[in-house]
Subunit: 134 residues, 2 copies
């Protein structure tokens, strides 16, 4: 549990991961969305790449220097489940049942929940849901 704790132990790291789950990949977009200091963002992303959570990819727009984007690895993407479980808990117990997010199946639009189930249950893939911020 030590590494998992280390990853989730930092407020900025969680916010960076949330950006990633919302589909934000580029360094500059993360920085402006979060208002995070450059030195902090660079350091956190470096550690997340070392942990195998993000994969760093160079990209280049015409006339500009090379910049970097950060895509979630499978390992990183699957951190979505504990984080959603945490948000669901927060919605119930911190926000007094006034949910801040809804997890919706992309196709059916039906609400999804994080739950404990037997291995015969039909699980929804993380890639098949979208998070609606209320």
């Amino acid at each position: 549990m030590a590494l998992a704790t280390e990853i989730l132990s930092d407020r900025w790291t969680l916010l960076i991961l949330r950006e990633a789950f919302y589909g934000v990949k580029r360094y500059d977009d993360m920085r402006s969305d979060l208002g995070i200091p450059r030195s902090v963002l660079t350091e956190r992303l470096k550690r997340l790449v070392e942990f195998g959570i993000f994969i760093r990819e160079p990209y280049r727009e015409a006339g500009a220097r090379t910049r970097y984007a950060y895509g979630l690895s499978q390992k990183g993407a699957e951190l979505g489940l504990p984080i959603l479980a945490l948000m669901q808990w927060g919605d119930k117990h911190i926000n007094q049942n006034e949910p801040a997010i809804e997890i919706l199946d992309r196709k059916s639009g039906k609400r999804q929940f994080v739950a404990l189930v037997g291995d015969d249950a039909k699980a929804t893939k993380l890639a098949d849901v979208r998070i609606a911020v209320l």
Copy 2:
């Protein structure tokens, strides 16, 4: 997400919560199980009581002074789901699919998993599972 992060952000806090999920309630038992310094345990428990995660209950054995036990509130007990999700992720991605724990239904003995499901899925109650440490 801020409070949830604050709670899970601390290695000792997570270990104390894990003790609680294993059924340990008494201050002295937690202290000897974890080898945690008295000052640290006292401070963490105080915060967890303030957050409404633990309920502090005095108890007294014959001839001894009053001591304290810490029971999980419902809010605290339901933190079990994000923590199990985190352990499940760690088993897959940190322990290379060599699980450190199994979540077993107390009655059927069947393995349970944390997953994303529709609201028609039959969820297993946290109280109905036990954690087998492998």
